[in-house]
Symmetry: C5
Subunit: 316 residues, 5 copies
């Protein structure tokens, strides 16, 4: 069986074996553990999502156990898809256990094929290739998030809608992604400095390169979170400003209503007064001059009074 052959190969003093597993079941993993003598705790972490990148030494430093979180951006759901790659690394073998969708390692294989000189340095080169692949795959995630942020900006400032929920969800995605990136910084720095593995100068430059990319990604996520916090506040300000505009319009409507009522309610009262059926009233207001003076006159007079009142209060 292939697994046994691989384990045997490891006993020879030449080269190393790279064994790749994708979401293995418990039996499969136990089998590998027995063959290669992996530590219980490391195997436990490899079996499930561990949710935290780390680098650990086992067997007095002869085996390195690395957990990396992979990320892919899913355009249509505006989500960051997380996966995990666990790596067991010794001079004789590299065992990778992948969990989740975004954990593809084709890129790592290709990188090594392009650089046979690095491959000569042994299994550490494989670790570099894996790290480089995974960290490079962080870039499109940042881009996807940035594109969404730009869309959100436009929505906010066009005033078309208040995309509060979308801003919030993007913030959550950015925070989750930050948690995949940030805890890797310190161990990768240590790795570059040779704290975990003896590295040739050449290879350590390649690890430094990965570290450099990771730092950039880290700074970009931090900037993204900052931008999203700011846009949430800007969103509030835009909403409040719209509120003011609505209120100003409402004020206009209210003013029109008030003007109409202030003009016509008094006038209508006067016409009502002279429309009362008191005989005395009806009989006494019978000449043209009385109509002109009392009827038309009182209407004109109150119209003038209303006009001056409006004028004083600044409404006209």
């Amino acid at each position: 069986m292939a697994l046994e052959q691989a384990a045997e190969l490891c006993l020879n003093d030449q080269g190393f074996v790279w064994l790749g597993l994708f979401e293995p079941d418990e039996d499969e993993l136990t089998d590998v553990q027995d063959k290669f003598g992996l530590h219980d705790l490391a195997v436990e972490d490899a079996q499930n999502f561990h949710l935290r990148p780390k680098i650990e030494r086992y067997e007095e430093g002869s085996v390195l156990f690395v957990v990396l979180r992979t990320a892919g951006y899913v355009e249509d759901r505006e989500m960051v898809d997380m996966g995990e790659v666990s790596v067991f690394l010794s001079r004789r073998f590299v065992i990778t256990v992948r969990q989740g969708a975004a954990s593809n390692l084709h890129g790592a294989r290709k990188r090594l094929e392009e650089r046979p000189d690095l491959l000569k340095e042994g299994s550490a080169a494989v670790l570099w290739a894996i790290l480089d692949t995974i960290v490079d795959n962080y870039a499109p995630v940042i881009e996807g998030l940035e594109k969404d942020v730009e869309e959100v900006e436009q929505t906010v400032f066009s005033g078309a809608a208040a995309p509060t929920e979308r801003i919030y969800l993007l913030r959550r995605e950015a925070t989750d992604f930050y948690r995949a990136v940030h805890p890797l910084l310190a161990p990768l720095e240590a790795l570059e400095r040779g704290a975990y593995l003896q590295l040739s100068e050449e290879l350590s430059q390649f690890f430094r390169d990965v570290n450099d990319h990771l730092k950039l990604v880290n700074e970009e996520v931090i900037a993204l979170r900052d931008v999203l916090a700011t846009i949430l506040q800007a969103n509030m300000a835009v909403i409040s400003n719209q509120q003011n505009e609505i209120s100003v319009r409402q004020n206009e409507t209210m003013k029109q209503l008030t003007v109409v009522a202030t003009i016509f309610l008094p006038l209508t009262f006067i016409t009502g007064f002279f429309g009362m059926n008191f005989s005395w009233l009806v009989n006494d207001i019978n000449s043209f001059w009385i109509f002109l003076v009392y009827g038309v006159g009182s209407l004109v007079l109150s119209a003038v009074a209303i006009y001056y009142w409006f004028r004083r209060s600044g409404d006209i």
Copy 2:
């Protein structure tokens, strides 16, 4: 009596004794203190809630005193229930003093039974088992809080209600829990490095594993607090947006009122005018054409005027 036997057993040079106390009264604890020669200050801390996890050395390092805060999530009250476990640890004895409901240590006993190899390493293995049990019990707390946060998110963005108080209380719970977790990070790191106890490489890996879980819990609480701060702001934005919607609807109502008043108040004034009982007026407006021109005409004219006024101001 059992306590004396235990104390005697400790004088022999083989193995160690694990003594478990649950909310002991003062006499009980004083008794244990006398038998095992524990330090006053440590016993004082064990007796009451100390509210802060810590690891301390007594008797020139031969006795370790550890305070741990336990946590359990109470679903129906949406609260984190806190307890405490104080551990006195020497080569010869492990004394655990438990306070509060969430401080169960069955898990620790079970862990040790499953790993007889660790138990051989002596009392330090018990400390590991206790730490591992308590830190593992933090996971359901995080899950409980995360579930609540998701419910709160849905409430906020459905617009059904503004769950400000619930968000606030969740934030408080998260902050309290953070205070149970965070101060433990540094001493546990020191413990893993062997600053307090001489650890075999095997056992130190198990302590590293606990430390790793604690770091994950710590990062998750930090993320939770960040999310809750963000959702409080999102909540504000949603409330303000609803305010705008209410105002827009109010504007509609107001406009309708204004339209009706602007049409009918002037027309009613005109009918009032021609309803006045001035004889001259009544007698002079007696032909059909006068009715048509003055009566209907003036109404139509003012209706047309109103129509154009609305049109100019953009209301129709």
Copy 3:
């Protein structure tokens, strides 16, 4: 005179003198300074409120100068009352200068009487007793502030009132108190490690105990400030939500007004129309059927029209 005796006693090689001063005037302090050879700068700091806790070495480390800020909670004014205790400490003397109301040191004396074993260690034990007393007195301050915060929470979420000013003032008190506590952390840590004084293991454990309490107080103040910042935001959300409720009620009132006006203004216009005194009109509308068709009919017709209009716009 007592002061001279005390100074003389210090010259003997046995024991030490503890001299306690409360808000001494300049002459008194100069007198003490001369007798015990204290440094100008330290005496200056002791004389006034220095507003910052610190530990300093003078005379090549043979004299330690400690400034501590004391705190008491004044229930009825919801304020933290601050005082200061300055300590001059050498192998031969302890001079304490107290400033302000909350600087009582009876507790320190009592502590030492209860632990004659510590007193044997010399003047350092007095420093411990003073520190322990002062730090223990921080606990009721935290409790007082926490009780106020709980009251504020209830006020905010009951919606009875918006206690913005109270939240703000509590935040200020918490910030002031934080400034009394936080700068003491580093020097106390150094003191525990023996950087300022040679301490026996026993005594250093007691200093560690004080340090541990101080750390707890520090964490509690930080949590309090965080809670108060959050409650200020929650307060805003509750106010905005009330605004929405008020607007909804206003909308109801507005709608009722609009309905009434929309129904009766047109109907009243119609009655006005048929109330005009045009003879042609009055003479022509004389049969019962005309009344029924024109008078009642037009009213019913417009009532029906209004009804359908409301129905269409969803108001009924």
Copy 4:
């Protein structure tokens, strides 16, 4: 010429020269530079506002170049006036270049005259005197800002006005002042530890005293900025609360209007109905009982109906 004499004096092996310049022009400064052999870069920094406090060593440590930012509080403009003092310090000379209004050094001279013992220690004592003077002059700035903050507090919580602009400007002043204070902390700490100059124990205590004052000022500015951030939020809450009070009052007005309209519009319609001039109607409603039943009755009936409607909807 005085300058040449001063330069000559420096060549003797006794004492040192203190040369004070106030906003010198380029020629003057070049002259001094030539005479005392100052470094180009340092002279450049002294010539203009450098905006950042710092301590630098030149000539293998034999010349110290210190830039300090001075601050004075201008009451009537509520502004912090910034100046700068650059100090060139060697064993033989002290050259101070002052820029801006708040850079007075009389206090430094007076301090040295009061302490001839320190002056014996050479030019380092002058540096102490300058630092002490400048840092002491920070205290009134803090006081001025704190007084303004208290005024702002009162304005905010009295509700008289929303002093948003004033809060904002105070925040800017506090931030600017913080930038003058904070970067000086680290070099002053190093200076106290003797990293730049060999200091006698006595003198180093005086530098420690300055450092201590600077730390206090730094903590006070940080607290001020925090308070100003909080008051900006409290200001928002107070404004929003006023908004609610305005809305409640508006609601009252609206309700009154609605009640009046709901009562009188229907009643007026009824009177209008019986005021129509249909002959049939006019002729048929001629008896007292008809008036009582139809006229008064219908009015009373609708009044009662309106009353019950209000009652049901809770308005009365």
Copy 5:
């Protein structure tokens, strides 16, 4: 060809070559790489925008690779234009690769011509000249941003408009610029200390000068970001305050409407009552006194009643 000559010159043991490239295509760069033996990873970084300043050592420290981000302020678009300069530096050559518009290095050449003494120190002087030029060019960016902030302040507090979008965009620019400046601090500090290159004391003072400018720029960007965050909040407060003013005005309008309606609707009802055509009514109200008592009296009575009602409710 020039390139070959340059490469040859480098083999001699005297002086060094400075080769400047502007946005070279891949072939050009590969050519240079071959001639000068540059490392793959460094060349890759030079070819594209790397977005992160850094200093790296290659070839066991004999080649230094420096990436710097250049910045220019574009007034009319209110944007910071970013470019990049990559520098390969050995004892024998300096190769600069420029990307983007703001990456001009004329200033560096001029600086070196002015200081032939530094040029004698070799290629490190060129690195200083480049760093100094780029960091000096940061100053106008800060100035440009500060000018915009001042304009925004005026807009906000004049209340003319709510420039939320502009504040937001300025914040983004400040954040982007911060990312160009901040990561350079640590490597430049190391460079000054001689961690990357052996520097003469003279030259290291010039590097310290650059570092000092960079620190100032860094502090200024941090202050700018803080100011922009504060102004976004102040903007909110100003908007909310305007909302209150609008509401107060609306309240005035509403009150006027209510007053008019409350006065005239009841009066008009009364005139309507006496305008009804009930014969009994018409026939009975025929004397002058009846008119005066019933007609005028009831109007005056209800006017008085309304007057007292307003008075009680505080509207007049």
